[in-house]
Amino acid sequence: MMSRRRFLACSLFLPALAWLAAWRPARGHGAGPALVAMRGTARGERVWFEPAGLWIPQGATVRFVNEDAVNVHTATAFHPDLHGRERRIPAGAPPWTSELLLPGEHYDVVLDQPGVYDYYCLPHAAHGMVGRIVVGTPEDAQWTHESYYQSTRTNGMPGTFPELNGVLATRSRHASG
């Protein structure tokens, strides 16, 4: 029969073990690339980027991971060179896009220029699957404010970008992560 001491030890140890198994490192720049998951419901009724808004420091890497078991996705910057969309990345920043990513595949992009990067999923443009990455802060010397930074909608596509200030407010979490 289990002693009281052993029972107590087990009752403390097992939950701690379960917590450790479930623990994932903070999704900040200190723990490798910042992650954006491509997600969807089991039947594909809804698709989205998570988090929809992400702050990273200048020069950090963002990794897009397809965690949707039933669909493929892209991460595609808004830029005239990519399917004729309006430019919603800082002037002079190179446009970027992933290939179609199968479940489990990922795509990395390094963002060097401070500012706001809006992106979407090519096969789910009609569904409004969009996201926003803010690189650096308005205090950075290279930060050049552009009008689209304050807009949360784009022409000809459903979907809403997170507010710039809301994304900037998450940076303290990353700084301590």
């Binding site: 089991a42 594909g44 009724e45 039933v70 493929v72 290939e99 199968l102 096969p123 789910h124 009609a126």
Partner: protein, 142 residues
């Protein structure tokens, strides 16, 4: 003499059977991949080989976007026939009539919205005909 309801049921069955892809329960496509012009969907567009909920899909490309798509389980058994119907086209008055089925035997039907995927990018409806009682469970696995 046939009762009215039995006659109606038989008539419905015969119409349904007339629309099937290959007629009878011994057709080879029930236990193996269908012959051309059907092609594996994952060879036509970038999609997983096996899609949980739908299985391994085959389609005659000339019937896109509606299909029928034939859904096979991991053992190569035809388990479902799927139609993918764009909502905007329906709203604009388009219709799809007398579509074929992979098998005349249908146990149950699921209908749900889909946001889009390569092959049928625009928001559409999936109509899934499961051909036996265990088909849904066989197609659900990853």
């Amino acid at each position: 003499m046939l009762s009215h309801s039995r006659f109606a049921a038989l008539a419905a069955c015969s119409v349904f059977a007339a629309c099937t892809y290959a007629g009878d329960a011994t057709s080879p496509h029930l236990t193996a991949a269908p012959a051309a012009p059907y092609a594996k969907v994952s060879s036509l567009v970038k999609l997983p080989d096996f899609i949980p909920g739908l299985g391994t899909l085959y389609v005659d490309p000339s019937t896109l976007p509606a299909g029928p798509f034939l859904g096979y389980d991991r053992d190569g058994r035809l388990s479902a026939t799927i139609y993918m119907v764009p909502i905007k086209a329906l709203q604009n008055g388009e219709s799809w009539d007398a579509l074929k089925t992979g098998d005349a035997r249908v146990d149950s039907v699921d209908i749900y919205y889909n946001a889009g995927h390569p092959g049928v990018e625009e928001p559409h409806v999936h109509v899934v005909l499961f051909h036996d009682a265990a088909a849904r469970a066989r197609l659900a696995g990853k």
